[in-house]
Amino acid sequence: MEEDVPVTDADIEQYADAANAGRLTRSDVMALEMVGLDDPAYTRSRALLLMNAQRKGDDAAIKRYLDQLMMLPENQYNPIYLSELGRYLVNHKQYDAALEKANLAERYWARLPPELVFSKKAEIYETQAAAWQGRFYQSEDDLELLEQAIRHWQKYRDHVQSKSRSDLARRADAELAKLEDIRTRLH
């Protein structure tokens, strides 16, 4: 009986905090999954489900909700979801597709909420750098791909240093050191 009751946008608000903490219950998930594609609350329901899956590290659910978000044309140009999808694709070694999504996210970065501009741009740049690095690793030592990977990790480092995020800059430095060592060995 309960599943026949439609979930409205206002109803969804009750799930927001739990989703952000990765603590949606099974019945919460079922309620959010019932929101249909033609419902105005559809995108929010899937964004909350995605966030919950990310916090829990549920890889299959992350992919499922990203796919569901991308079923709406407007979400296919949303830099937040594009960035999340790009990161998922990198982690699954689909580097060409990851790069495409990250580049599209960068193209539409102006749509980012001001609160997320820095962090999402950092994620987009990191995804680009990782995707180039992955393409290089999959190549037969294609030095042009290596140079692209180095350039994009430098771009990421420049960005995170602009807000003095030394923790993120260290990650870039570690990857750059690794790639520069490879460059030395291959030349």
């Binding site: 952000n20 990310q54 916090r55 979400n75 990198v90």
Partner: protein, 150 residues
Amino acid sequence: MAATFMRALRPTGLAVAALALVATGCAGKRVIYGSVVDRNGQPMDRVIVSLDPGGVELVTDSEGNFMIDYLRDDDGQRVKLAKKTEYTLEAFRTGYHVSRIDFYFKRGELILDPITMQEDTIELRPSDDDIDPARFPDRSHSAGTNYEGE
């Protein structure tokens, strides 16, 4: 008849000398054999293997094997492996962590244990941003743009 047969078996002076030469050649041979595998035990080709000290760099074959039977001196000339020496062997291939092993080469032939290379995995953390769209105004339908932003 038996004596004739025994005489035939008796080595001549020339044969003794030849055998001695072969034996000396084997004793002087200095070579290191090894192989490189991935974490699943599969052989890895195209791995660059280098030895320090030694100045040699070579690549594993299609079965992941390598053999080092000479070094290079400062002038680039081939020289024998030095006996009773501590060596460091390094294995490198793009996309994998560099593997290093230290070993002691006494003399003769040495077969190293297989070197296992670990893949350098590229992993991105999921975002920890709050991406609830209700937290932010929707910019995808703002005036003057369609959802493709054109």
